[in-house]
């Protein structure tokens, strides 16, 4: 098994995907958080509560959760690349017990997702504290709480990367899988929130569960106000975490079970 994991790490770092993933973590973590904090939520259009309030702080931390489509897309890209470049046959020749290959991939990408989440949260924390210090703002939450919220977002990135792996294993076509993942997370879920009735489902969708981690309801509230529906009630953070773990397990199961008997032609 460790042979297969070693091989998957090599595969990841032999392309530009590994470096790209770290760059994205810095850009979305430090870059996005720094930019939002510099501008200040009170200057957003429409204006949001400032960084010196708890609501304002939770809101911009929650925004970070919306970059989850990045690790999800990377997961989908990584698994489908084997089919696109026709290396799946070679891989399964070297390791005919296909589930082992997928377990190795999930392990590798789980670690990569963790690294992504850590860099994302770390650079975001650095940017936030630096900007707050420079602008002389005292943040609306104690530093420990801010770090804990960022850590939750970082861990959620692991889940999204694994969901991407599952979708990739399910669909196998690279373009379709990446479009589905980004389309759903970036557009699909927010659109669902706008449909009266369906938006009741939002708390149990991956996006809703992620928002629950930081109790981030700003977007959902804005949406429901816009369409005049009842406000969305998110799950408690622990339930959100449990649900996200469930999604990760389901995606992993799909990734392991599906390729087992499918013909590689």
């Amino acid at each position: 098994m460790h042979h297969l994991i070693k091989a998957e790490f090599r595969r990841l770092f032999a392309t530009r995907v590994g470096a790209g993933l770290l760059l994205a973590a810095v850009l979305f973590g430090g870059g996005l958080m720094g930019a939002m904090a510099l501008v200040g939520p009170e200057n957003f259009d429409p204006p949001m509560p400032g960084l010196d309030t708890e609501a304002g702080l939770r809101a911009i931390l929650g925004m970070l959760g919306y970059t989850a489509f990045v690790p999800a897309a990377v997961g989908a890209l990584a698994v489908t690349s084997e089919y696109r470049h026709r290396t799946a046959a070679v891989t399964f020749l070297f390791a005919p017990r296909r589930w082992q290959v997928l377990v190795a991939k999930l392990t590798t990408y789980g670690v990569a997702g963790l690294a992504y989440g850590l860099v994302l949260a770390g650079t975001a924390a650095t940017a936030l504290f630096t900007v707050a210090a420079v602008r002389g703002i005292s943040l609306g939450l104690p530093a420990g709480d801010v770090l804990a919220l960022l850590a939750r977002i970082g861990l959620a990135m692991v889940v999204y990367l694994l969901i991407g792996v599952g979708v990739g294993a399910l669909l196998r076509n690279q373009v379709v899988a990446v479009c589905v993942v980004i389309g759903y997370l970036y557009l699909g879920e927010p659109l669902l929130m706008m449909i009266p009735g369906v938006n009741a489902l939002y708390p149990v969708l991956p996006g809703g569960a992620t928002a629950a981690l930081t109790d981030f309801t700003y977007l959902a509230d804005a949406m429901s106000q816009e369409v005049g529906s009842t406000a969305v009630r998110l799950l408690p953070p622990a339930a959100g975490a449990l649900l996200l773990t469930g999604y990760a397990l389901a995606a992993s199961l799909i990734a392991i079970v599906l390729p087992m008997r499918r013909d590689i032609t």
């Binding site: 042979h3 297969l4 032999a14 470049h85 070679v90 013909d263 590689i264």
Partner: protein, 310 residues
């Protein structure tokens, strides 16, 4: 590379009553054959005959509808570290275009549990050392085929399966491939090479397995299937030469001599030396003397049309 000897009595490759159906289409039907070590075996048939499907079933990539396909007596999935026993090449290009040749080999060296030095050994064996750090996306067809072979040989396997390896190779590449596969077979390995381009493979194979529409047409040593070669001879005095040749073995089996219609005689049962010696002894002038081997194409057409007629 060390010489390889088979360690058990079972044929290196054994296909038995193998059938694969896709919906209503039967790609392979009740196929049975074996492949022996130490020779190059050609797996021949027109496009769509079921060659690739059969080879994919042999390697566990495709699940048979019924029947069995084993290598060294075991289904592929039950081999311990299969890349140590079997090397297979299916696609003309099976690399991530962003990987370098060395990266690609190291990924699979890690997968098979081989040391990294194995990647460099194979790059050198296949003449790719200079290209080791180039991204495979920039490789020519010939280089891709070499890298495919390098990947298949990482585990120093004693069975090699190659699906249409000559596709897209230039004459120089073909010549190299021929020499390389001959050498591998000479080391005692089992080499199965599929092709639909018969002229390209004729000089390479010792044994053939011919399939058509998923069914076996013929299998065996090429020389036995082709029969002994005939001799074509051109003489200005053809009638006298024919009489001399026919009367050459009064007590044995006389050679068969037929006129070809263009002034030549086709002789069966005597080799070129025998014909030349007899002509010289009887002072019959000879202007041309050619050994005529059956081409794989002729044999193939003969076998497949015969099959259709019956």
């Amino acid at each position: 590379m060390a010489s390889v000897t088979a360690t058990d009595d079972r044929p290196a490759i054994e296909v038995s009553h193998l059938t694969k159906r896709y919906g209503t289409v039967t790609a392979v039907r009740d196929l049975t054959f074996t492949v022996e070590p130490g020779v190059v075996t050609g797996f021949l048939g027109p496009n769509g005959a079921g060659k690739t499907t059969t080879m994919r079933m042999l390697t566990g990539l495709v699940t048979p509808t019924s029947g069995t396909a084993t290598i060294a007596g075991r289904p592929y999935g039950q081999l311990r570290n299969p890349s140590r026993t079997v090397g297979a090449v299916f696609d003309a290009s099976a690399f991530h275009p962003g990987h370098t040749a060395r990266d690609h080999l190291r990924v699979y060296a890690a997968m098979g549990g081989y040391p990294d030095s194995r990647a460099d050994d194979l790059l050198s064996l296949l003449g790719l050392t200079e290209a080791a750090d180039r991204r495979t996306g920039t490789f020519s067809t010939g280089m891709r085929q070499r890298l495919n072979l390098a990947t298949a040989l990482l585990g120093d396997p004693r069975v090699l399966l190659l699906d249409e390896p000559s596709n897209g190779l230039d004459p120089e590449g073909m010549l190299w491939l021929r020499g390389f596969l001959r050498r591998l077979a000479g080391e005692g390995r089992t080499v199965l090479v599929s092709s639909h381009v018969l002229s390209e493979i004729q000089q390479l194979v010792d044994d053939v397995v011919v399939i058509r529409r998923g069914e076996l047409v013929a299998a065996g040593p090429w020389s036995r299937l082709a029969g002994p070669p005939a001799v074509l001879v051109l003489s200005p005095d053809a009638d006298r030469l024919a009489a001399v040749l026919r009367g050459s073995r009064p007590d044995g089996d006389p050679p068969r001599v037929d006129a070809t219609g263009d002034g030549r005689l086709r002789v069966h049962g005597l080799d070129a030396a025998g014909v030349a010696d007899l002509a010289a002894a009887h002072q019959v002038p000879v202007h041309e003397l050619v050994t005529e081997t059956t081409s794989l194409e002729q044999l193939f057409l003969h076998l497949t049309t015969e099959r259709t007629a019956s």
